[in-house]
Symmetry: C3
Subunit: 346 residues, 3 copies
């Protein structure tokens, strides 16, 4: 991406902000962030993963955020601190061109209904729609083409990017970031069968998002059937995720891309679900659970730890043979047991 | 969600509407629906699943929809009937605040092209676009930001929520519900390879949705390459579903979230695909098939029943050992056979 | 779909265009394309797959695109050539009603900011938004409701269908086709943990799409954390695909529906990923790799070929027994080894 951001800062100022120990020229200024291998002489870089130690000797970065344990190998000016990755996260927001934009106010082509409550410094983009009874807190940004449904509220400091949809009766906490194409509050998937076909169950609950929630592009969080679907504080949700009706997600939990969670399942606090993980409905997952990518969970989990299912990829030729054997696995196990018995008998 | 719905009804009226046997005070009024454990004294509740019997003795509900077999344990006023879940579905629609909204007509900020045919009581939201040649039947609602492409038709009583996209030449039946972010009629994934790269195959077919179809948020139904992609009557499709070109889905079939169906596959009537199920292309799945969550189906299915694939989750430590063995499975099976032979020979 | 396309052509003209050998009446005109079984007397058809040979004797098609090896069985007028499927692809675009539409220019209800650069014959639909600093090349079409973010550029001949979102600082090459609901340039999923909760990492990179890229409906391509996410030339991406930050995809690679690729993974040229395939992060997949549907890849692949994981579907009753045994697989293997040893010892 071409750089449009004119922000720059001296290393001394950055060290003070981060509480880092500066070793080198504090007057030197940096105007960008980059990886060790990509950084130029005006960029700040960081070492957060031992795998990248090999790029350290040759980096052209003006300075490096680094843990004291690795300074021996650092040729550049350095800012020493305990958690360089966290420091990088903090600084990244300084260099974000979006953060520096002036507030644009209500675009003349936006549609804001009567009976909407607007906080201070609210921005509503072109062709966005705010329906009757909605509330937008201070500093809320609603991107172009986004829709906030009737009687919904968006907490202070939240940003809806372009083409986000929030249905009626949804509560979004403070400082939320909702990415384009995500949909909050569509009907849960509820139907009763009469023996011949389906009868829709109106989804009368809502969705409540806590504070500091991020939702990725094209993700869905459905409204509850009777009670609400509830997403805790500081929950981070990647793109292409599906969260069904009446799911509850505990604080600080992170869901990677393509995760699907079926109805009424409760996920604890500080959990991490890898990409493509599926949780069946009506489960309870305790705090501190990690599930590796593309695993299927069909039973509740009561003990923190790492869980997995599935099989890793191999050549198709080998896989075909093994996959056939999987269908015989119970039979193979029984044959093994018989053989053990007959071996013991002889 | 805060309740904005002022609807209330006497138990006697509800019993009459449902054909239920009322035991208790028919004059009592209810103004909401809730689960047994959440219900307050103005709510109606229901018992549809034996797992919730434990909540029955302490419910505060004004009355409970219940099967005659369970009345002994019911402390509250009750409406006895054979299918309490179906009765709950019927009543849920009475309590839906969306159902009570007045029709808003064509919003002044909507773009309705010349040459569009509009039925009676049609509503088109702000910044929605209806392209030339499109037809909207009676009582159709097109939400804000939705687009109905040229020459498409939307059957009477259908609702497109906000930010839905219907391409050109798509036929949607009566009483459809299309949720936000869903896309009906984008190009199927068709390319011819010339040995060096890809050549696009224009997707000349359309999409036909039957009556009473529901499509969840952010789901895709692609248009056919030559003929149409066809979705039968009363087909219910959850969020994040992908239906490729020239797929046919039989009447009354339900697809849970994140299902993917590859091109030209035919799914029968009264099927149920669990969350994340994948069907390969060019298959035929007969009527009455259920597939459990995240299963992969690569062959046609000719017999009704329940089908599955995959492995359940376990601790990562145990999984690592077993997943390695899966790659040796054919070898293990051969060794077992050899051992059986040598055991028989001795 | 009802045919709205009045295009027709003589078989002699088509043969000349394709370099095919015409056997039959060159004056005959065709006005549509259809499969062998659906074709009527005004349609052209093709035989590209031996599985459809059975439909050849009874086809009503005016003429058939066919390989010389199969002409003996062809009752109709024929156009003989080496790659009938490629010829069908070329002709399909002639019969596409979208291709024949006149350019509509800038819709009066579009919002085009000051400081936008527009090429020749650009079309911008109703309620579309082009933000400041964006560039649209010649013949670009931006569908209704689509948003092109600040400082992004869309190459000549590209089409964004309705309700597409392109964030700021994204570069789209020439002749791209972006389908409705897709989102290019949303934030990658990057957070640093401080032991208590998450800190957002601003995603400062962009997205670069090469020439001739197609992206399906509701797919996500996230912007890079520092450098860019890079999609090569002639890459074809189906619907519901998730491409995470800093992924690189080589030229001519095709990704089927519901694929998910985690951060910083590099996929080679001429690869094909089947539906629902998941690639873990930080992998390198070499050129010429195919991965079959719903496989999980957690290690880099250095050799071209076909790769798979998972297990095929079977009856649920059989699957339950085998899935239980999968959890015992390492144990079974050890028991087998013990038995082999004791058998050798006796």
């Amino acid at each position: 991406m071409k750089k449009t951001n004119a922000f720059s800062c001296s290393l001394a100022e950055l060290a003070a902000r981060l509480g880092a120990t500066l070793v080198g020229d504090g007057e030197r200024r940096v105007s960008g962030l980059a990886t060790l291998s990509d950084a130029g002489p005006e960029d700040l870089s960081f070492l957060a993963n031992r795998a990248y130690l090999k790029y350290l000797p040759d980096t052209r970065a003006a300075a490096v955020l680094i843990h004291p344990a690795h300074v021996a190998e650092c040729p550049a000016t350095r800012l020493e601190l305990d958690n360089p990755y966290l420091a990088y996260a903090e600084l990244s927001r300084l260099f974000d061109p979006l953060a520096a934009r002036p507030v644009a106010g209500i675009h003349p082509a936006a549609s804001v209904a009567d009976g909407v409550t607007l906080g201070q410094r609210v921005e509503v983009g072109a062709h966005a729609v705010i329906e009757s009874g909605a509330e937008l807190g201070d500093d809320v940004i609603v991107g172009p083409g986004s829709v906030v449904g009737a009687d919904s509220s968006i907490g202070a400091g939240s940003r809806l990017h372009a083409n986000v949809t929030v249905y009626h009766g949804v509560i979004v906490g403070k400082r939320a970031i909702l990415h384009s194409g995500c949909v909050i509050g569509a009907d849960g998937f509820g139907f009763a069968h009469d023996g011949a076909g389906w009868h829709k169950i109106a989804q009368l609950g809502g969705v409540v998002l806590g504070d500091d929630v991020e939702v990725g592009s094209c993700s869905s969080i459905d409204r509850g059937a009777l009670g609400d679907t509830v997403i805790g504080d500081d929950v981070k949700i990647d793109s292409q995720v599906q969260i069904a009706h009446n799911v509850c997600i505990g604080d600080h939990t992170a869901l990677a891309g393509c995760v699907g969670i079926a109805g009424s399942t409760k996920v604890g606090r500080h959990c991490m679900l890898g990409g493509g993980v599926g949780l069946a409905g009506h489960l309870t997952i305790c705090d501190g659970v990690q599930v590796t990518g593309m695993s299927l969970v069909t039973n509740s989990i009561t003990k923190p730890g790492v869980y997995s299912s599935g099989t890793g990829a191999m050549s198709n030729a080998l896989w075909r043979k093994n996959a056939v054997r999987f269908k015989q696995l119970d039979d193979l196990a029984k044959r093994l047991t018989r053989l053990e018995r007959s071996s013991r008998d002889t």
